[in-house]
């Protein structure tokens, strides 16, 4: 009997997993709410503000998709996930979209059976140390105690970096960014390592950010992007093209301020197609014509999202760098809307 109860539990777990593999769009529309996985709190990327509203760079992707699909950017149920729980949450159908600075890797895409819909931030792994340690390069970190979030690519990069430079280190595994911050500030670890953007965001929340330095070495490529489950291509297309719409909008000069009238006034056919005043791109996605216009109106174009949440005018102060439009020497390049 014990055995059957045991197997029953497994089966019940699997049942939940299987039930949610297709028809995500219909489910979301019926539910009226988009379940979106975000971090447990990383200022600038996803964190609740003083009013308890989630805001940030990754949150904007969730809101844009909700605006495109449901017509309401606030119809999002944010599900905070840790590095360890995020994939299970997505695979089990608990969330419809994961926008949690997640690195696009081969095995996650192929073996874990997820679909990365694009890249919203080109990042790389960096190291942060207290200034008083007097360390100026990651190559001086032999023997250091390093705080890492478990279940991340940074954990693997870190092991590779130290092994290839013939250095040793003591890993301190932690679950969330907040926990890492507390351990790091208490001095329980010498170094905190995660994506450079995450380091900048974390440092911005310190009492005295200038007492900490981000070391110059970037030891990995971390293309961060939103992802969905494998197997529901319609839903994947919606998420992909919503992100592309935000990027294309910046390139085409469509902003949240002018999106209301530019669709009617412009002669540019690509803008007209993007905003649904010409052609039927929305219908091809299974949405109405002004899906992209709603997304842009709700959160702004990519440039507005960047500047508003993590850009140089914010305390986090990240430069566009690789995340500039291809026309400005960056890597952002949305495929044509046609």
């Amino acid at each position: 009997m014990k055995k059957s109860v045991f197997l029953g539990t497994i089966a019940a777990t699997a049942l939940v997993a299987g039930a949610a593999s297709a028809q995500t769009l219909a489910e979301v529309q019926e539910r009226g709410v988009l379940n979106c996985g975000v971090t447990t709190g990383l200022t600038g990327f996803a964190a609740p503000n003083a009013e308890g509203e989630w805001e940030g760079f990754d949150v904007a992707v969730c809101r844009a998709v909700a605006a495109a699909v449901l017509g309401d950017a606030s119809a999002v149920e944010f599900v905070p996930t840790t590095g360890q729980t995020r994939f299970t949450a997505l695979a089990s159908g608990e969330i419809d979209l994961l926008a949690r600075n997640t690195t696009w890797t081969f095995s996650r895409d192929v073996d874990l059976a997820f679909e990365f819909v694009g890249i919203n931030y080109y990042d790389g792994q960096g190291f942060m140390v207290p200034r008083e340690l007097g360390v100026s390069s990651a190559l001086e970190l032999d023997g250091a105690t390093v705080c890492i979030q478990t279940g991340t690519t940074t954990e693997l990069n870190l092991a590779d970096f130290f092994a290839s430079n013939n250095m040793s280190y003591e890993p301190v595994p932690i679950e969330t960014n907040a926990e890492a911050q507390q351990q790091y500030l208490a001095g329980a670890c010498d170094v905190y390592t995660t994506d450079a953007s995450g380091l900048a965001a974390t440092r911005a929340t310190f009492e005295d950010p200038s007492a900490h330095v981000v070391l110059p070495e970037i030891v990995s490529k971390e293309p961060l992007g939103p992802l969905v489950r494998h197997g529901d291509n319609e839903w994947g297309d919606i998420a992909r093209w919503t992100l592309n719409a935000l990027i294309a909008a910046e390139e085409l000069g469509v902003t949240s301020a002018n999106v209301g009238e530019i669709g009617a006034s412009t002669e540019n056919p690509e803008i007209r197609r993007l905003l649904g005043t010409e052609g039927d791109l929305g219908a091809m996605l299974g949405l109405d014509a002004d899906w992209a216009a709603r997304a842009i109106a709700a959160v702004g174009n990519y440039g507005e999202i960047f500047e508003g949440n993590i850009g140089e005018s914010t305390p986090i102060g990240l430069a566009r760098g690789l995340n500039a439009q291809w026309t400005d020497g960056g890597l952002l390049y949305a495929p044509p809307f046609r």
Binding site: R108, G151, E170, P171
Partner: protein, 425 residues
Amino acid sequence: MATMTDPPAEGFRLSQLLYDTRYRSATIQVVAFFLVMAGLVWLVNNVVINLSAAGKDFDFAFLNSRAGYDINQRLIEYSNDSTHRRAAYVGILNTLLVAFLGCITATILGVIAGVLRLSKNWIVGRLMTVYVEGFRNIPLLLWIIVIFAIMTESMPQPRDFRGEDAEASMILGESVAVTNRGIYIPNLVFTRSLGGNEVDAETGAAIASASFADLALLVAVIVAGFFASGYIGRRATATQERTGVRPPGVFWMRAGAIILPAVIVLVALGATLDYPQLQGFNFSGGIHLRNSLIALWFALSLYTGAFIAEIVRAGILSVSKGQTEASSALGMRPSWTMNLVILPQAMRVIIPPLISQFLNLTKNSSLALAVGYMDVRSTLGGITINQTGRELEGMLLLGGFYLLTSLIISLFMNIYNNSVALKER
């Protein structure tokens, strides 16, 4: 001559399966068996269908692939080039380590607190009540995190130990360093290790190290010493019963039987202590008891100890007062009364619930996750699952491990229980 006639044979009718009490119970069992099996088949089939719908196969091959991540506390050789299987072993050993340490300290704490709670001294009794109620009624996870936070936030950083006028200093004759990364204690090392020593290139002197063989030898010699000591004791008792005189110096002989061989082995292996020293970012040398281990170990011991205290108290109270009185009437001292009369009887009441407490402690050690202690839940059930996406396989293995461990603990405790149980003759 009498003739026997068989009663006319009745034909078996199908309705007898239901209405004949001789067959009914068998019928019910067969039907129930088929229902259970059908349920099982349905569940397994469900798993298979849903796994294939999710595009996942069922495969344990991931255990042989490269793990790629590092583990801070490892009792066996492990690097990020090792396999996931090896990482799981490291985790299993860490789980067993904290469970073993926890069971021992919890038992000691529990027995002391349980006995003291019955003390006639009001303050001692109430203090133990506060301990028991405080730890029993607050969730274990909170205690783990509280101890961890105290260690991390209030202890000095390693770099505070540096310099001429250092803010912090090592204790116990410069041998133990208490830092916010854990406690560094001296380590026993050998200059003539059985595992062989590396030789210092400059001085030609052997670098002290410890191998598994050294420690095994030491433990074996000590265990043998205890057996020898027990033998001396039994022989002395036999002599005493025969002649009425206990041979002199038995205590010293027993102590010597344990200590002397151990000392000889230590000297032969060239034992010395490796003290922790501040080097670079951290202390090096010695044994590093990480905060995560300390927090988990202490919290598990204190929490489970509170339950064991109540079990011990109940066991002692279960022995009737008449036993104590009878023992006094025979002229026994109070300590003999406790050791020879009360405790042996109390053990019969104490052992069975104690087994459950040991099992609880072992399973509760999976709360290690909260403080980043790398037990099997964190390696196999955490990082490995997360990096490979094999949730079902990983969780099955994890469940199997805890089941097996618990069954083995139960087995040994049951054997012990049988040995102290009331022998009915």
